[in-house]
Amino acid sequence: MFSNEKNSAAKLWFVTAVFWLLLGMSLGLTTAIKQISPDFLNYQITTYGHIRSSHVMLVIYAWLSMAYVASMLYMIPKLARTTLYSEKLGNVSAVLYNIVMLEGFVSLLMGQTSVIEYGEFPVWVDVQVILVLVLVAHNIFKTIAQRQEKVLYVSIWYFLGSLLWLPLTYIIGNLPASWYPSGTEQALAGWFLGHNAIGLWMTTVGVGQIYYLLPKLTGRPLYSHELSMIGFWTIATFYVWNGPHHLMNGPVPGWILKAGIIPSLLLLIPVWTVFHNFFATMKGAWHKVKDDVTLRFVVAGSIFYLMACIQGPLQALPSVSSLVKFTHWTVGHAHMGPLGAFSFTSFAAGYYMIQQITGNEFWSKKLQEAHFWFSTIGFLLFSFSLWTAGIIQGFAWIEGKSFLDTVLMVRPYVIARAIGGTMLIAGQFLFAFNIYKTFKAKQSSVVSEGNAVATA
């Protein structure tokens, strides 16, 4: 039952990732609606907290992480000029990972949570997440070991680093609560995970995708390999130091916070390297953005990445933090990376891979266009409402308005956020339908070719 066919593992990981994308985003929209009318679906299993937690965990560890694994399983053999070490293992691990995500989802609905944000699955699920990730890493490391192309393209650096960092980061933040010497210590470890799940997994694999896709889609070589290396090493050096800024103005000694602020500012270096490379590679290829939706997703994702990285270091400053921390702003910012930047690059990776794997264009170009515009406009509406709401709330708290008043005050923005979210989800359903049709068209063309051969 487990196929050995070329690219079958990448395909299975991506297709099942899209299923979680639809589910995870619907949970997000449910959360948004519950913030408007709290009685919506208010049963024990679907109480606000359960839905919010499973939204966060599933979009990150199911949708995005699975789309990432799919990208790596497809891109690494190409870059290494070899085949995947084992398609079968890739398929087995896809099935296992899906089962683990389902377990995680059910346990969160049942109220079993380990509380730590970005690490909410209970420990018994965490152990399985790690085991399957190790299977994936094993498959990929073996593939790299048997490579024909000796020079490692920069995307491989990013993928290699990420596959090492994610399991380690995940373990540090997810140890059983009683193993930490104090709640504050656990918060530091937890935010180490919270920040580096983004910095050393989402960002690094996403940047690897950008570096792979840009030259392919523009037909121009990457502007500078050296610059991308500088980017890689500065991320590796500085990102790990960023966890403490999540406890800004909080119950930790000043030196730890400073250890969080300075590296946050230094992170502008890797961002700059990505952008310089991005613009220099795009030079002379901008006209392609108009017709090529895949390239357009890479461009939009990269721009959102830049925006996220300008916000991030600013928010790490104590003064800015004291205004926006704990407000809707934070939620807006938290969606920039995983959704605006790297879900967009993963959509692009999906379009690119599926076209390569099937050897066909997508079933409908119109639906691709619609997917792009629904996602982009939906996302902009979503984030601008949250940022505005956050700033209004931040100032209202400083003025000493009663908390309930500050909730009522931002209601219109919370409604706008839900409208943006609805558009986003609508876009993803079009994406899923288009993928389905594309594979279906491929199947029937294979069947009819087969018949033609048989009758000839």
Binding site: V115, S182, T184, A236, L247, P251, I256
Partner: protein, 165 residues
């Protein structure tokens, strides 16, 4: 290095470990966050006490996704009258910690000083009755035992010196 994946991994691992030591391991040796304060002792609930069970109810029903327990000495928190800023040692026994990251509802670090039991019960059953327009969902589905435990926990969230011993 461009041809040696194992070297890339080794250096990447080393840089990672340096960051872990700096931000997770070194703080362990800082007394300020590991010495229990009087507030921490007041929250060091006995196993299976009503407060300890109530804390579990709080976690299982996801109160921490809307409420922080994290008071800062910044204008916003001072003007919102949230109570004294929390210190690292206050969380000594708070495992898993419930600091939270988002205030969809107000901070609850010292909420035990703000309301009495009957208000808490009424609010948990029908939040809109005590706070018109509130977006907090009703927790009327909790069993009587869970409700009692949860309220005991909420009422225990006070500064140590505000507690009659």
């Amino acid at each position: 290095m461009e041809k040696k994946p194992s070297l890339v991994l080794l250096v990447a691992f080393t840089l990672f470990i340096v960051g872990v030591i700096g931000t997770v391991i070194l703080p362990y040796f800082d007394g300020e966050i590991n010495e229990p304060t009087a507030n921490a002792e007041a929250r060091n609930y006995k196993v299976d006490s009503a407060e300890a069970r109530g804390r579990e109810v709080y976690i299982q029903n996801g109160c921490q996704t809307c409420h922080t327990q994290f008071v800062r000495s910044v204008q916003a928190d001072i003007n919102q009258n949230l109570g004294p800023a929390t210190a690292g040692g206050d969380y000594k026994y708070d495992l898993p910690h419930l600091m939270g990251s988002n205030r969809t509802g107000p901070d609850l670090m010292w909420v035990g000083t703000r309301w009495n039991e009957s208000w808490q019960r009424q609010h948990l059953i029908d939040p809109q009755s005590t706070s018109p327009g509130s977006i907090m969902p009703s927790f009327a589905y909790l069993s009587e035992q869970e409700m009692k435990d949860l309220i005991a926990y909420l009422m225990s969230l006070k500064p140590a010196d505000a507690k009659p011993k």
